[in-house]
């Protein structure tokens, strides 16, 4: 969300680029932005972990084994066990699922929502735009975590509700940038040309506006991914996230496990490492993509 200001300033016109093969473009990205590429690799690893959690996890995530409780790392329990003898490694692997599912769905739905709210407001303009903008500005005064906590408390704790609440929050936040992106596109001559040949507003929006703001939307979505994963983890940590028994990275750091962290340090360490690494990777990738697609920053090099 911190990227909003600089993104908003930088929405200039963009030149057409020669079409290159995808592998070539990825290779070029890896060469120019090694850290961003590394972030992408870490995210792919997290995605694979989430998809193949049942195969990767060595034990059931919720299988207590009281005779093996609070063990240090070993060949059986790679990252040790918690106070109920559950395998920490397996719980982290399963926890990746929540982060990935919530992260990806919130980013996809939230971006769609921001297009529907801010994109259309910028496109239509006039009074509708003004009303939406006022509403968005008012909503932006809410601290994200506070409003998310409040909404989850109101509507109840479940994966669907957490996705809905974060989608709404992120969507409203992003709609400002989406709106300015559409406004920047609107003044182009090809928009006038499209109107002149009699294209309907719906067609203009779908065929001329959406493809042109696509790069900005992708950058925006990637930049927000880390924040969404962090928000979900914070909710889970505070006990307002995905309810147990489903393990979550935020949830692994709280509750009964917290009492054993001083004598069993790995309980505090590994879930946090997994979480921080994923969020860091997402932020690095978002930052690199912004550099690549941001005409203003490109000029400054």
């Amino acid at each position: 969300m911190e990227n909003r200001e600089s993104l908003e300033v930088s929405l200039g016109a963009r030149r057409a680029r020669p079409l290159l093969g995808l592998p070539w473009r990825i290779a070029r990205f890896a060469r120019n932005k090694p850290l961003g590429f590394l972030g992408a690799v870490v995210l792919v690893v997290a995605l694979i972990t989430a998809i193949f959690a049942p195969q990767i996890a060595r034990q059931g995530f919720n299988k207590p084994n009281l005779s093996d409780k609070l063990q240090g790392p070993s060949t059986t329990y790679w990252l040790g066990t918690d106070h109920l003898g559950r395998d920490v490694f397996s719980r982290i692997v399963w926890g990746a699922r929540v982060s990935v599912v919530v992260g990806l769905s919130v980013i996809t739905l939230g971006t769609a929502f921001s297009l529907a709210l801010g994109g259309i407001a910028g496109f239509v303009g006039g009074k509708y735009d003004l009303v939406v903008l006022r509403f968005v500005d008012a909503f932006l005064t809410f601290p994200t975590l506070v409003i998310a906590l409040t909404l989850v408390a109101i509507f109840g704790q479940s994966v669907q509700n957490i996705i809905a609440v974060l989608t709404f929050t992120i969507g409203v936040h992003q709609s400002r940038v989406t709106r300015s992106a559409v406004l920047a596109i609107k003044s182009n001559q090809y928009m006038e040309a499209a109107r002149a040949i009699g294209a309907s507003p719906v067609r203009i929006f779908a065929v001329y506006v959406l493809p042109n703001i696509f790069p900005i939307v992708i950058v925006l979505a990637t930049a927000a991914l880390g924040g969404v994963i962090l928000a979900e983890a914070s909710l889970s940590f505070l006990g307002f996230g995905v309810p147990p028994p489903q393990p979550t990275w935020g949830g692994l750091l709280t509750g009964a496990a917290a009492q054993y962290m001083i004598s069993n340090f790995w309980l505090a360490l590994w879930p946090g490492v997994a979480l921080t690494l994923t969020v860091y990777a997402a932020n690095m990738l978002g930052d690199a993509l912004r550099d690549v697609w941001d005409p203003r920053l490109r000029g400054s090099k």
Binding site: L35, T141, L238, A268, G272, Y280, L297
Partner: protein
Amino acid sequence: MVIPTLWLASTIIFVFTRYLPGDAAILMLGGTNEPITPELIQQLRERLGLTRPIHVQYLEFYWKLLRGDMGTSIWTRLPVIEEILPRVPVSAQLIAMGVAIGWTWGVLVGIIAALKQDKPVDYIFRSIAIGGLSIPSFWMAILAIVIPAVLWSWTPARRFEYFAVNPSENLKLMLIPAVILGIHLGAPVMRIARTTMLEVFRQDYIRTAYAKGLAQKVVVFRHVLRNSLIPVVTLMGLQVIGGISGAVILETLFGIPGMGKLLLQEALSKRDYPLIQGINLMMIFIVVSVNLLVDLSYGLIDPRIRQQ
């Protein structure tokens, strides 16, 4: 701008919190050991004024709000405003300390990164800034409690002293949570400071300053820094918003009796909706006030704006 924003934001909160009462009524009755009957819930809803038409509730909400009345807590029966007000300075102190720490490291590191643009130092500092954005503050807090305990068998105290009662002890206790908050809040400051510094460096008047033979130190601190401050100050509003979110977590973990702890441990967990509503209102009031102050301060920093 301030009034419509406050009005809209409070309306959003009013709409959201109207979904709560059913829950709250059942929760409240749950504590009384009586069987919960629909009649009991109905009685309670009437007593709480929830059966009246929504527009009447809405007008009454504003009528009371304008006189500083946010209703009474369902659980403690105290006026919500009395529950919240003593907590405000505590949260404000934590956020102010966090912002101060964040700005200090953010601006300093931003200057150095801008001066060394595209050199290894720049990359390292930018990576650190992204790291500051990425480390969850609750994990930093856990590590701040656990690591000293493992290494030296020492843990930060989970008690609290008010600044007015014992200033030095208060600052000592607030330091760790404030630093954690500052690590988070400084990251965007660093990035904006770096970007604007680079922009200002390309201005003609900077070339002039160098051309007339000023030392680099003078150019950086007198000419560049002051002109790069405006976007950083604009960030202040966002910083306070982020600081409030951080305060909810850190106050709870370090046992600091601020608004965040009140929200989490008293209001949300007990579904005390007048209190939830009141805390939300107080928070947006603070954010909007800060935004207003930021707008007013532009004139002080930038003479060009003052003249308009």
